[in-house]
């Protein structure tokens, strides 16, 4: 398989540092050599390629933008974003794994955990020795997480959890779950370890999307955890929402990678597939689609790079992350659909990757704040009028 080269229509690469480019190249090489040859097989089987986890840990891909003192790489947010872009160029499931581990498990422990929790968990999560998951969404509370019914009750030196979480990436394979539950009516975060009595994490099967990723339900029935497993500094819904901002930031970058993969495949195919004695790239309708793709990719690249620079300068607003996630995933999905279309019947087979990306992006479009919820977040921001309900 040929080495991947990303499109760069507006010389956006000139705006990246040598270090950022080196990080991107290293992950690109890894994806070319370790992910691309196996991903279709795992997607078809409906399994996550677990053997990649130690390699990803070794490369420093988990919580890469967190500090070195906890075993993390300490890269800037643009490099972190480029890493997500490259991972999702391989598969949204691989990027999802890194997003959950870094932004949804390591970040809350780093931001809201005690020093003991940080020292114990972060190095193990960074190396991939331990896997984490994040439980906020419930069967009846998705876009409205504040309505959650999972409860924690203090009992002596323990908390007792009751409730259920749904659509939890990595749930079944996680050694530790960051679980959000109401304690005396206030949303708090708890660390629940695998094997704790009263905690089960059955896998959700039969997915048409994110097939190379584990999605689970978390069930708590009188699950007793030690009192020191509460995240001391996380109080109220804004704590889990701040984690989602981190994860959505990575998704905005990841979507670019997915779009690059399907555009690259469609462009290549259009230039070599002959119909009516000429390549289909010579037909105006096909060119129209390809131009839409590269234009949207270029817009994503510039928008998201500025988002990363703002994050590194500490000026980022979560509403900007919403706009980027909303825009990039929407267009990545349109691009994947167009790529599938250009590929014709070949596009539905596992010989090509566009339909896998397309199916994955249907999940990405919905998770971490649906497209519509991000519309309403930006809508409220510019009008001052909330329109959620």
């Amino acid at each position: 398989m040929k080495k991947f080269e990303s499109p760069d229509y507006f010389q956006v690469d000139d705006l990246l540092s040598e270090e950022e480019k080196m990080i991107r190249q290293s992950i690109r090489d890894w994806v070319d050599e370790e992910v691309m040859p196996i991903i279709e097989e795992y997607y078809q089987k409906g399994e996550f390629p677990m053997h990649l986890v130690p390699q990803m840990g070794e490369m420093g891909l988990f919580g890469a933008n967190l500090p070195e003192e906890y075993g993390c790489a300490g890269v800037n947010n643009v490099a972190y974003g480029l890493m997500m872009q490259e991972l999702e160029r391989g598969d949204s499931g691989i990027r999802s794994f890194a997003s959950v581990q870094g932004a949804l498990v390591m970040y809350p422990i780093f931001e809201y955990g005690s020093e003991e929790q940080k020292k114990y968990w972060l190095p193990k999560l960074a190396s991939g020795e331990k896997i984490g998951c994040f439980g906020l969404t419930e069967p009846d509370y998705g876009s409205n997480p504040g309505g959650m019914v999972t409860k924690a009750v203090k009992d002596g030196n323990s908390y007792i959890l009751n409730g259920a979480k749904m659509w939890i990436t990595n749930g079944t394979i996680a050694d530790v779950a960051v679980v959000w539950a109401k304690l005396d009516g206030e949303v708090r975060g708890f660390l629940v370890e695998k094997g704790t009595p009263g905690y089960e994490a059955p896998e959700i099967k039969g997915k048409h999307s994110l097939r190379a990723s584990v999605t689970s339900e978390l069930v708590f029935q009188d699950c007793r955890i030690p009192a020191e497993n509460i995240l001391p500094k996380a109080k109220g819904l804004k704590a889990p929402l701040s984690c989602l901002t981190q994860a959505r930031y990575g998704i905005a970058w990841g979507a670019i990678g997915s779009a690059m993969a399907t555009y690259d495949e469609a462009l290549d195919y259009a230039k070599t597939r002959i119909q009516f004695d000429k390549p289909i790239a010579s037909f105006q309708l096909v060119q129209n689609k390809l131009v839409y793709m590269i234009t949207e990719i270029t817009k994503m690249q510039t928008l998201t790079l500025q988002l990363g620079r703002l994050k590194d300068q500490g000026k980022l607003r979560f509403t900007q992350v919403s706009m980027a996630k909303r825009n990039n995933v929407y267009h990545a999905l349109q691009i994947a659909r167009m790529a599938r279309d250009i590929l014709g019947a070949n596009g539905i087979t596992s010989e090509y990757q566009s339909m896998r990306h397309m199916n994955n992006l249907e999940s990405v479009y919905t998770y971490e704040g649906t497209h519509d919820i991000h519309t309403l977040i930006v809508g409220e921001d510019i009008t001052g009028i909330p329109a959620y309900y």
């Binding site: 040598e18 080196m22 290293s26 090489d29 420093g60 070195e68 790489a73 300490g74 890269v75």
Partner: protein, 249 residues
């Protein structure tokens, strides 16, 4: 154990090479530069040896400041420090490169000097042997397996139709062949650490080039194929052409 690895920056193996207007250089615009792949095997081997036995890996490269980008790649793999011998461009004459490297290497007190067996750009395969000669050290070329134990060095060399096992004293010059190892990915931590590692720039007087490039040319274009006919009827004509024209049967 102190190991020096001499490395060269070369165009990426997938780069489209075009000849520049002067006819003696290649166009460098848009070329992606990489560590010469054989040198990458040498760096990986040096890292494995020092991880096992302790010591430091020093990268040495010759060229303008622009080669520091690929030197950083080697530092990101895990090499400890680097020396860049300043030169306006990579000299065409391997004698010039070899003499410059030897001058810097002899100051370093290295236990082992590693090279790639050749650079993939000009394919001269001369520099390791020139350096070994100038420093009066054993030269072990085209190595696919290297064992260093208690000062005793053993290498497996690739030779025509087989392998040759050799032992040699140290210090020595060893050149790496594909198969010696699988170079590691640059980890994010490695890349972050690389920017803090020192690259010492040395100014030395380069020898005069005794070899210069007169002209670069592209390989001859492939002749288009010819269809001699279709179906079984075409076989006798095909056999005749293969026999009389192509002279392959």
């Amino acid at each position: 154990m102190n190991i020096a690895v001499c490395m060269k920056q070369t165009p990426d193996t997938e780069a489209q090479i075009k000849i520049a207007d002067d006819g003696t250089h290649i166009q460098t615009d848009g070329i992606k530069w990489i560590i010469n792949p054989y040198d990458e095997f040498a760096i990986e081997e040096a890292l494995r040896i020092t991880e096992k036995h302790g010591g430091e890996v020093t990268l040495i490269s010759l060229g303008p400041a622009s080669v520091e980008k690929t030197i950083r790649e080697g530092l990101a793999m895990g090499a400890h420090k680097a020396i860049r011998i300043d030169a306006p461009e990579s000299p065409a004459d391997p004698q010039v490169v070899g003499a410059a490297l030897a001058e810097v290497l002899k100051e370093g007190n290295y236990d082992l000097i590693l090279f790639g067996k050749q650079a993939i750009d000009d394919d001269q395969s001369q520099v390791p042997s020139i350096v070994a000669t100038l420093l009066d050290l054993p030269a072990v070329a085209v190595v696919v397996k290297l064992d260093i134990e208690d000062g005793k060095a053993t290498a497996l060399r690739e030779i025509e139709g087989g392998h040759e096992k050799v032992t040699f004293s140290q210090p020595a010059v060893v050149s790496a062949q594909r198969g010696l190892n699988e170079p590691r990915y640059r980890s994010l931590k490695g890349i972050m650490a690389a920017k803090k590692k020192p690259i010492e720039v040395k100014q030395i007087n380069l020898k005069e080039n005794q070899l210069s490039v007169e002209k670069l040319s592209y390989p001859p274009e492939k002749k288009p194929g010819r269809i001699v006919g279709e179906g079984p009827d075409a076989v006798p004509e095909l056999v005749r052409l293969l026999h009389e024209e192509a002279k392959v049967i």
